[in-house]
Amino acid sequence: MSPNESHTSLESRALWQEVLGEQTEAVWQALDVECASYSLYALRTSCLPVWQFATAASLALCAALAFITLKQSTQLADQRLDYVLLQLQSPRASTQLDALLSLRTLGTAIPEQRWPELRNALQNSSDPNVQLATLELMINIGAITQIADIPDLLPSRAPQQRLLEASFQFWNPQEH
């Protein structure tokens, strides 16, 4: 016991003595004999592992919840992408434009294995605005980097083919 601790203990004992009055001696004896030793024992050997266990359990629970949340959000993102790509197959130009707006917000989150679906939309849509919006998206995500990457459309869609190529050159003047 250091001198400082001893000093503090004496002060503390004096305070308790003032409060407890005649009962002081009996209380201190009881504490010394029973509770104090048991309390010290309990604090040193039992309570600390419980707190450690609780902390560790909380951390594990948080990690599990984070993993589940991440997995679910990934699944939701995949489902949303499935849905939007399905919308892109609609025969209505406005539905397709809505889908392309959603895809634009996803941007580079569109995985490479889904790029063929964008390519199909570019090739099969009969609406030039849908084709241009698809081309813009594919350029932005790196699915089309040169004019040769633009798929060949049906001969009956020659005007759209020329428009797509002109737009590509407009956006990439160095490409020919």
């Binding site: 209505r92 406005s94 609406d127 030039p128 005007p159 020329r162 428009l163 737009s167």
Partner: protein, 255 residues
């Protein structure tokens, strides 16, 4: 007896189709049963098309242009004989009414009356103007060479004029994404000042306007193009012009 039957049949045929009996270059078709049809698709190479909304009747007046520049006589002294054309025929594919003239080298002028709730898909692959008035549904139209005019439109739209002007006059804000693209020509969009829309301007860096919400809107420069939110924003309308002017006009001050 057989002769009487033949005469009666001939008379009935002539009475039921008077225009087709003598001339195939002009005529009228009325579609009596439009039950279940929600969409009209028209495509062809040389078409001038006017479509008006009207009731529940679908009707087509057609005329094959006599002075077709693509069929004028050459300089070699030979005369081109123009074969009588078959009249256009409606087709049906589920809920879509189809009128295709893709294989025709002739130039056609079509005037149609269709229910305003029908969605329209109109394509001109070579040459011709498209005029559509008063539709209350999605309209998708493009022409390789010719003007496109959409007036009193109350629905989403996708318009492309590759070599010509495009004018869209909006009655109400579309609820779905819409777009106008012009390659060589002028692009005009006329709308009410109070419509809630997002305008996305691509390719063009100059825009003429007398629309107050657009004049006061803060431009949001993006990686491609500029975006303006009018009256709090709404469905997106993309305007794209590769070579030409672009104007967004107040339809109340249009001449």
């Amino acid at each position: 007896m057989k002769t009487d039957h033949f005469k009666a049949l001939l008379a009935l045929t002539i009475l039921s189709a008077p225009t087709f009996a003598w001339a195939a270059d002009t005529g009228e078709l009325v579609l009596a049963d439009t039950q279940g049809i929600t969409r009209l698709l028209i495509s062809g190479r040389y078409l001038n098309i006017e479509i008006r909304s009207g009731g529940n009747i679908a009707a087509l007046q057609w005329h094959q242009d006599a002075h077709d520049p693509s069929l004028s006589d050459g300089q070699n002294g030979l005369t081109t004989l123009v074969m009588p054309a078959m009249e256009p025929a409606w087709g049906r594919n589920d809920e879509t009414l189809v009128l295709r003239l893709n294989d025709s080298e002739q130039s056609w002028r079509l005037q149609l009356q269709v229910p305003s709730q029908w969605e329209l898909n109109v394509n001109v692959m070579e040459l011709g103007d498209i005029r559509i008035e008063g539709q209350q549904a999605n309209v998708s139209a493009w022409s390789a060479r010719g003007d496109i005019t959409l007036s009193n439109q109350n629905g989403s739209f996708s318009i492309t004029a590759m070599d010509g002007n495009a004018l869209v006059d909006l009655l109400a804000a579309p609820v779905e994404s819409s777009a106008i693209t012009v390659w060589n020509g002028d692009l005009s969009l006329a709308l009410e000042e109070n419509l809630n829309i997002d305008l996305r301007i691509l390719e063009s860096r100059r825009l003429q306007t007398d629309l107050n919400p657009l004049l006061t809107a803060t431009p949001d420069a993006q990686a491609q193009g500029t975006r303006y939110s009018l009256n709090g924003g709404g469905a997106e309308i993309t305007l794209r012009n590769l070579n030409g002017g672009m104007a967004v006009l107040n339809r109340d001050t249009l001449p």
